[in-house]
């Protein structure tokens, strides 16, 4: 118990003193995860809308597959992205391995199933008559999809927040494709992993507390914006 308390104090100390390396990795965590979540949402929410809206053969199968990938292990995604972007890999000429850019890509791939699947779930909760109403009022397909998304906005928003949560808390992918390079690709989660392995448990716990606090602050901000809307 005293170890946890010491860790908590250490966390407060690091935050209050604005320890530069810790602020650096905190900012990096936030930045990379927020970017990947926003970019992935921009793709997945409309895409989820379209999948939900149209009927086509194999739709249920597709949704099943999407839901299966909820449990995609982060190391697997990391491995896949590594093999793709390694210099000898098909996308190697971009040379973005071991950079924050490839970490964003990795996280986007990781959270796409959740964003897609939960968006489709959210939209399925909207009364079918809304779809008919919007169409009969003269909406084009895109306008109708947008109207349905707006109707389900709380649930869709929850999906995005969930996606962010998964992105900001994952280690496997970030480690594999980022290399945990100090000052460059080290994030809160990979730093925690490293410090743990090095035996610096107190510091690792402190970083963990900071990570959770970060997530808490994000959620509070997000919720406040949501209320006003």
């Amino acid at each position: 118990m005293s170890e946890l308390w010491k860790a908590f104090l250490r966390a407060v100390e690091l935050i209050v003193n604005l320890d530069p390396e810790v602020t650096g990795i905190t900012w990096r965590s936030l930045h990379i995860s927020a970017t990947s979540t926003i970019l992935a949402s921009l793709i997945c929410v409309p895409l989820g809308g379209m999948i939900h809206f149209r009927s086509f053969s194999g739709k249920r199968g597709l949704i099943s597959i999407i839901q299966t990938f909820y449990s995609l292990p982060t190391v697997c995604v990391g491995l896949l992205v590594f093999v793709l972007f390694s210099r000898v890999g098909p996308l190697g000429r971009f040379g973005i391995l071991f950079t924050p850019t490839v970490m964003v890509i990795g996280q986007m791939i990781l959270i796409t199933p959740i964003l897609l699947g939960l968006t489709i779930s959210a939209l399925s909760g909207v009364d079918r008559t809304i779809k008919d109403s919007t169409l009969s009022l003269g909406a084009t397909e895109l306008q109708a999809i947008w109207a349905i998304i707006k109707e389900a906005r709380f649930a869709v928003w929850a999906a995005v927040v969930m996606g962010f949560g998964r992105a900001v808390s994952e280690v496997g992918c970030a480690m594999m494709v980022g290399g945990n390079i100090r000052g460059f690709t080290r994030m809160l989660t990979t730093a925690i992993s490293l410090e743990t392995q090095k035996g610096e448990l107190e510091l690792a716990l402190a970083l963990g507390i900071i990570l959770i606090s970060l997530a808490l602050v994000i959620n509070v901000i997000v919720n406040t914006i949501q209320q006003r809307y």
Binding site: T35, R182, F184, Q197
Partner: protein, 326 residues
């Protein structure tokens, strides 16, 4: 909130995020030391980068953190140091994902060069492996030769798997390769060792973490002296077997062959290699840790010491690395 305002805000937010992401690809230069002793160096614009895959023992001892800022300042580049076991470091080298390797497995390094993946190998430093274990030494291996110690560990381990355990790196690192070599000398096929019982534990982690694990579980393990000294304060282990030619541990740096991977930053790679074998840095390596730990963690190859380890003259090793090789 008007919907137009909302749209503008969201687009703005996205642009801000993406642009700062690109800007932050320029690494924040961080001074030496670990997290607890930070020193902020001003943020530099996007710079040339050099990627180094290093064996874990060079990293866990803090040697790289010590040398990194020196090199960066001197050449104005960003050094990206990727922590990897020798196994994965060689993979990175083969794939051209890094520019330089600093590892410690002569056999595999030679193979790497022979197959055309690496060039300009230079010895940097050396130390010795040792077998560490609990103070009580339940298997009684103190003072033995490494091969004999391993034989004894195998016997005792099989008899008393709870009392006499051995933790292996189990990760294809240079240290792991050395361990396998000792088993071979002791007369065992490695596969049979792996299957010999619960006394033999494969950790799959770097040197520092493995030492911590061994200390926690009070077991034996093979480690290089540098990392052992660096972690000694945290360990409840003592060195038990320190003598034996087989325990020689030589660290070398090599550049990835630009013929295989033209995009490799071979010029700067050579700069790094030459930096590491320069007289000044060799001296610094020799002095590293003496104040803190009371003795050298690494013995530099320069200064005539390589004769001790059976190398040819230093002059040959000290030949500057260049590309193309004339």
């Amino acid at each position: 909130m008007g919907s137009k305002i909302k749209k503008v805000l969201s687009v703005g937010l996205i642009l801000v995020l993406i642009s700062t992401l690109m800007a932050s690809s320029a690494k924040e230069a961080v001074a030496q030391g670990d997290v607890s002793t930070p020193k902020k160096v001003p943020l530099l614009p996007k710079m040339e980068r050099l990627r180094v895959a290093t064996t874990t023992s060079l990293y866990d001892t803090g040697l790289w953190s010590y040398l990194e800022p020196m090199f960066e300042q001197k050449y104005g580049v960003e050094l990206d140091i990727v922590y990897a076991g020798t196994g994965i470091a060689l993979q990175y080298g083969k794939r051209g994902d890094v520019d330089v390797l600093t590892i410690h497995d002569r056999v595999r390094e030679d193979k790497f060069i022979r197959e055309g993946y690496g060039v300009n190998r230079r010895c940097i430093a050396y130390n010795y492996f040792l077998i560490a274990g609990p103070e009580s030494d339940p298997a009684g291996i103190k003072g033995m030769l490494p091969e004999d110690a391993f034989k004894r560990l195998m016997e005792e381990g099989k008899k008393n798997p709870e009392k006499a355990k051995f933790i292996s790196r189990g990760d294809n690192s240079g240290t792991h390769a050395k361990e396998k070599a000792i088993w071979l000398k002791a007369g065992y096929e490695y596969e049979s060792v792996q299957k010999s019982g619960s006394w033999y534990v494969e950790a799959g982690r770097g040197m520092g973490p493995t030492l911590l694990m061994a200390s926690e579980m009070q077991t034996y393990t093979l480690t290089d002296k540098g990392t052992f000294l660096a972690y000694k304060g945290n360990l409840k282990l003592i060195p038990l077997v320190e003598k034996g030619k087989i325990l020689l541990n030589v660290y070398a740096a090599l550049a990835v062959n630009p013929e295989k991977h033209p995009k490799v930053n071979v010029k700067m790679a050579n700069n790094l290699i030459n930096f590491l074998i320069s007289d000044e840095v060799q001296r610094l390596i020799g002095e590293y840790g003496v104040e803190t730990y009371g003795m050298q963690l690494f013995t530099p190859c320069g200064g005539g010491k390589c004769k001790e380890i059976g190398c040819p003259t230093w002059e040959e090793c000290a030949k500057p690395a260049e590309w193309p090789i004339k």
